[in-house]
């Protein structure tokens, strides 16, 4: 499956109680804020900048995510524990979903 065969950048962190994968654009301010949020709260996660991979691969990823979660894909798009997702960066939503007080 495409979502497991692409190359992610792994970021280590002390907080590893969630499996977090972030699909992001390297050009996007909200994507950068989302990654900074995960760093600031010491989450372990992996991410991929989908604007830096071939268009066909990116489209396959988007299609796979859309089929999996039945939602239009915008960035940042975070998959949490393979079952939930966060789209766009709204700090309160990310805090709530990831259990940050």
């Amino acid at each position: 499956m495409i979502l497991e065969s692409v190359q992610y950048t792994e970021v280590p962190g002390q907080r590893d109680n969630h499996a977090i994968t972030v699909y992001a654009l390297s050009t996007c301010g909200f994507c950068k804020r989302a990654l900074a949020f995960l760093n600031d709260h010491n989450f372990a996660y992996r991410y991929i900048y989908v604007d830096q991979i071939p268009l066909e691969t990116k489209n396959e990823i988007k299609e796979a995510l859309k089929n999996k979660f039945k939602v239009n894909i915008a960035f940042p798009f975070a998959v949490i524990d393979d079952t939930k997702y966060l789209v766009g960066f709204i700090e309160a939503d990310w805090k709530k979903e990831l259990g940050v007080n």
């Binding site: 050009t27 301010g29 709204i90």
Partner: protein
């Protein structure tokens, strides 16, 4: 085509904001990321693709999301800022609030 610099893109953004009666986001760190993103997109695609949206592969396919995007006018009216938050309404800027992600209306059509 000569590559654009961040300074070129900053001038472009100021010009757009002045023309539309908006302001460029005063959050310098955030805006610098967006200006760098826009500059990257110009140098990558040949046009100012919105830094927070991904390309569909051609200028024609991306026409609605080239800065200032087609949706920025409605988004600024409704939310006080555009999708990537480069441009703010004067009222929003004066409020001191920080922009947060808004729905991509590209998908509402």
């Amino acid at each position: 085509m000569n590559p654009k610099t961040r300074e070129d893109t900053a001038k472009f953004a100021e010009m757009v904001a002045n023309k539309q009666g908006w302001v460029v986001n005063p959050d310098t760190n955030f805006t610098t990321m967006l200006l760098d993103g826009l500059t990257t997109n110009w140098n990558r695609y040949g046009y100012y693709l919105c830094p927070c949206r991904d390309s569909d592969g051609s200028r024609e396919a991306d026409a609605a999301i080239i800065c200032p995007c087609k949706y920025s006018f409605g988004d600024i009216e409704r939310y006080g800022h555009c999708y990537c938050a480069l441009y703010l309404s004067k009222t929003f800027a004066q409020s001191g609030k920080s922009p947060e992600a808004i729905p991509d209306r590209r998908y509402e059509e």
